[in-house]
């Protein structure tokens, strides 16, 4: 039983920028190097079967930035999985204070997004990796060429202030364009695969179970009351209230997880 969803990278970027504009922050520019880094991170999660910012081998997200050749001043990462559409994923990030901070941070100028599908812990999964960054060079003060030499010392003194400050030598990596990633994804979800969402199946089954139990309890309460049958047991009204809460949770439950 597999499930995969067709999520467009451009939609994730557009919705993110829409949220930024709604909050008075400059929109981010889609950077293909960052998208390549995000794609590598997604593949790494599938290959090493983990769902975390730091891999079980101890690989931190910043390594994917630098490996892709993105020398950052500021860097951030948001992860999402199993969302059926991009707006649900973005909404979930916006609801979480730390992810929201990443999305709305004015420190970031660029964004890279990758949607990767594959087997994660035995479940067909769609991962969305969102990487934010500002190039180290973008933060250096622009100086006329003539005076650049005299400012060399000052430039060397400029120290990045945020946590991911390591700036290793960029390494050449096989470059994967955003369009290539999109093609890979669309190829992955098309074809004759039967797509059944494990979440929706569980949700529907839960819905049927709760509704059935609520009906039985309601009929039981009605009949015993109508016929004045003495009933020794728990309070049906309390059970109805508790199961009503469970029903509400089932109804509001949405697929997907963020990290």
């Amino acid at each position: 039983m597999g499930y995969a969803s067709n999520i467009s990278i451009n939609d994730v970027v557009n919705i993110t920028n829409q949220k930024r504009q709604e909050n008075g922050v400059e929109p981010l520019i889609l950077n293909e190097t960052l998208s390549s880094a995000a794609h590598s991170k997604g593949l790494d999660m599938l290959e090493h079967d983990y769902w975390a910012h730091v891999s079980p081998q101890g690989t931190e997200p910043w390594k994917f930035f630098t490996d892709a050749g993105y020398t950052y001043k500021y860097a951030g990462e948001n992860l999402a999985r199993d969302f059926s559409n991009p707006s649900s994923a973005v909404d979930a990030w916006m609801a979480s204070p730390s992810h929201r901070d990443n999305m709305l941070s004015g420190k970031y100028k660029e964004i890279g997004v990758a949607v990767v599908e594959g087997d994660l812990s035995g479940v067909e999964t769609t991962l969305i990796v969102q990487m934010f960054g500002t190039k180290y060079t973008d933060t250096l003060p622009s100086v006329p060429i003539a005076s650049a030499k005299t400012n060399e010392v000052n430039q060397e003194k400029l120290v990045p202030t945020n946590k991911p400050t390591l700036i290793p030598t960029p390494t050449a990596v096989p470059y994967l364009a955003v369009s290539d990633i999109s093609q890979t994804n669309s190829a992955g979800v098309s074809g004759s695969r039967i797509m059944i969402s494990p979440f929706n199946t569980t949700r529907n089954l839960s819905l049927v179970t709760v509704l059935l139990l609520l009906t039985v309890l309601f009929v039981d309460a009605y009949v015993t009351r109508k016929r004045n049958i003495p009933r020794f047991g728990g309070r049906v009204f309390a059970h109805l209230a508790f199961l009503g809460m469970i029903l509400a949770i089932v109804l509001i439950a949405k697929a997907g997880a963020i990290l």
Binding site: S206, L213, H239, A241
Partner: protein, 86 residues
């Protein structure tokens, strides 16, 4: 109506508990671990509410406790299956 009013002091904490649980579940939708704790706390509190309620009414039996435990367990299983499905 009189019967309902009579039970109001008992049902008010139950409704408060359920409402708080539901609101907490909604508010912390981004934190699955916290949602898990909320669901667990509401279910355990529900069983305790049942025990206290029936003890006060002098009709507490092992079957009543079992009934509340079964309902609470079923509710927890449903919520956890949704939480950890995706």
């Amino acid at each position: 109506m009189t019967r309902f009013t009579k039970h109001l002091p008992h049902y008010t904490p139950l409704f408060a508990l359920i409402s708080a649980g539901l609101l907490g579940y909604l508010f912390f939708s981004y934190d699955k671990a916290f949602q898990f704790i909320i669901a667990l706390a509401v279910s355990v509190s529900y069983v305790f509410w049942g025990i206290v309620h029936h003890k006060v009414h002098d009709d507490l039996t092992i079957f009543v406790v079992f009934e509340y435990l079964v309902i609470a367990t079923l509710g927890m299983v449903i919520v956890f299956s949704l939480l950890f499905r995706a």
